[in-house]
């Protein structure tokens, strides 16, 4: 446990010490900020805007998470520190979990300032603020965290498979895109009811919208948790066999 926390701390410190993290942070706040501004301007219904914000955060994940996770193993492989790390008496799973927890925490910290947008509504437009439903918003953020953990686990696997960070980023971006576009458009485009149904199940956009409306669906919980566990397991297996 002590080992895990030490690894986790190092992982977080490495995030905050790399310039990429700050560039990502800026990008993320810029896009979500502009997105929210536009949503509020267009939809006067505040709750719709809050739901929209979740979708904007989700869209940002597609860019932010591959870049956040690409360095996890690829960089250590390239610089050789992977060898020093893996010849220390640490379990492979502790290393993977620490990297996962580090990236997840960093991403959640990244999302934290978006709460200010909602606070801004409360302060600037008290007459509509009562329409904001705290429970639904909490559900939205919980879904964001769930989707992020599945995507981060995916990114870690991609990073564990290569020593080239660009390849890792593009690979995880591609897999995430399948869920992204498959989920977003397929249910609306396809004529086949089977595709529509499966697409509906996998669409993280729909999951987020539902959660942000205050509907909690245990199926999505199971989906993202099992995706996370599966990808983390695959990552552990990858780093213990590919060296």
């Amino acid at each position: 446990m002590r080992t895990f926390f030490a690894l986790w701390r190092r992982e977080l410190a490495a995030c905050f010490l790399s310039p990429i993290a700050y560039v990502m942070l800026m990008f993320f706040l810029l896009v979500t900020g502009c997105g929210f501004y536009w949503l509020v301007k267009e939809h006067l219904e505040v709750m719709r805007a809050a739901q929209g914000l979740m979708v904007v955060i989700w869209a940002c994940m597609l860019i932010v998470l591959p870049i956040l996770t690409m360095r996890a193993f690829a960089e250590e492989r390239k610089s050789g520190t992977f060898e020093t790390l893996m010849t220390a008496p640490v379990h492979d799973s502790a290393v993977v979990l620490a990297k996962f927890a580090g990236s997840l925490l960093f991403f959640l910290l990244m999302c934290l300032p978006t709460l200010l947008y909602l606070l801004a509504i409360q302060l600037l437009s008290p007459e509509t603020a009562h329409l904001l439903d705290a429970g639904a918003i909490a559900g939205g953020y919980l879904s964001v965290a769930l989707i992020a953990s599945a995507f981060i686990a995916m990114g870690l696997l991609a990073s564990a498979l290569t020593s080239n960070q660009i390849i890792a980023a593009i690979a995880s971006f591609s897999v995430m895109s399948i869920l992204f576009f498959g989920g977003l458009f397929e249910p609306h485009l396809s004529r086949s009811p089977a595709v529509r149904e499966i697409g509906g199940y996998l669409s993280s956009a729909l999951h987020l919208m539902e959660a942000a409306r205050g509907i909690f669906d245990s199926r999505t919980l199971v989906l993202y948790l099992s995706l996370t566990i599966f990808f983390l397991f695959a990552t552990v297996k990858t780093i213990s066999t590919r060296r």
């Binding site: 002590r2 080992t3 030490a6 690894l7 701390r9 190092r10 410190a13 490495a14 010490l17 790399s18 610089s79 050789g80 520190t81 992977f82 060898e83 020093t84 893996m86 010849t87 220390a88 008496p89 640490v90 379990h91 066999t241 060296r243």
Partner: protein
């Protein structure tokens, strides 16, 4: 301390390490030599459990490296080739982090950190960022890291590569001190270093162990014939013929020097060959200004063993 049995590693159809077996006793200092690409690093990586072997077993301090990797690694201090470190961290920060993940008890961390820093001459550099240190200092940080958890066995892969002569001397001195308390396996290309520090050498070539012995007995076994150098003035061809008349002498190489003298190198294993040469010179009326036994360096041994692609297997 180390027990390696039939260790084999194939990479994509190529055999990097081929059926290697050897043992290292507690307290030994073993130099691990071989040309580039001979399989040194691969072997060391398998010893530390970083690479899985295709076949074979490694036991470190009684623990099977592949069955019980965590326990085995507790006994090993390993410094990989080129000494990779987290460049964004400070020296103290890095050593503390490494101490924690190596399971040094919380209370002992500061003490251990200060001890290894002192051992490796890093007392003044604790606050420095690793990425800004010179290569020599980084090497010391790597070495300090490998000592943190007081391992029984130190495995150092080319600890002096890329250092300047002064730094090499310092690292060598450090290694010699470490040898008093640890079992040591180190690989290097710098042969005088091995001659000075190691009591046993393992030579690997083409993925096989081709020699394993003390430098002295390897020298005797391989270079049984002594090489004697003589300098005599006069007509080179006549003198050469005269030298060859001696019974014990088989081969003479001849090299004229600028000042009318000639240098002859004589291969012979006969005892007392030098006095015989002297007597020969006296009887023929030659002048002698040099007569000495050339000692062969580890370099000669290394070249002799590895040149034939490992066909000459000795001392296995």
């Amino acid at each position: 301390m180390i027990k390696v049995e039939n260790l084999t590693k194939n990479f994509a159809g190529q055999t990097a390490v081929d059926d290697v077996s050897f043992e290292v006793e507690r307290g030994e200092i073993v130099g691990f030599l071989g040309p580039n690409g001979a399989g040194k690093t691969t072997t060391m990586r398998m010893l530390t459990g970083f690479l899985q072997p295709t076949r074979g077993a490694v036991e470190i301090a009684g623990c099977d490296v592949f069955e019980d990797p965590i326990e085995a690694r507790r006994h090993i201090g390993y410094m990989p080739e080129s000494c990779p470190l987290y460049h964004e961290m400070r020296v103290d920060e890095y050593l503390t982090f490494r101490a924690v993940i190596k399971g040094v008890p919380r209370r002992a961390i500061r003490g251990r950190r200060d001890t290894v820093k002192e051992q490796c001459g890093l007392t003044e550099t604790g606050r420095r960022i690793i990425g800004q240190l010179s290569k020599g200092y980084r090497q010391r940080v790597g070495l300090a890291d490998s000592l943190l958890h007081e391992p029984d066995l130190l495995i150092l892969d080319e600890p002096t590569v890329g250092l300047d002569p002064n730094q090499i001397r310092e690292v060598r001195e450090l290694i010699r001190q470490l040898a008093k308390r640890h079992t040591l396996l180190l690989s290097t290309h710098i042969l005088p270093e091995v001659e000075m520090t190691c009591r046993r050498i393992l030579i690997i070539n083409g993925g096989r162990i081709v020699a394993s012995d003390t430098p002295d007995s390897l020298q005797k076994r391989l270079m049984g014939d002594a090489l004697i150098s003589v300098e005599i003035p006069g007509d080179g061809a006549t003198i050469k013929a005269g030298l060859l008349e001696m019974e014990a002498v088989d081969v003479v190489t001849h090299e004229p020097l600028d000042d009318g003298w000639h240098r002859f190198r004589i291969d012979s294993s006969a005892p007392g060959i030098r006095t015989q040469i002297f007597d020969c010179a006296v009887s023929k009326g030659w002048k002698l200004r040099e007569l000495h036994l050339e000692s062969r360096s580890l370099e000669d041994i290394f070249v002799a063993i590895t040149r034939n692609n490992g066909e000459a297997e000795v001392g296995k």
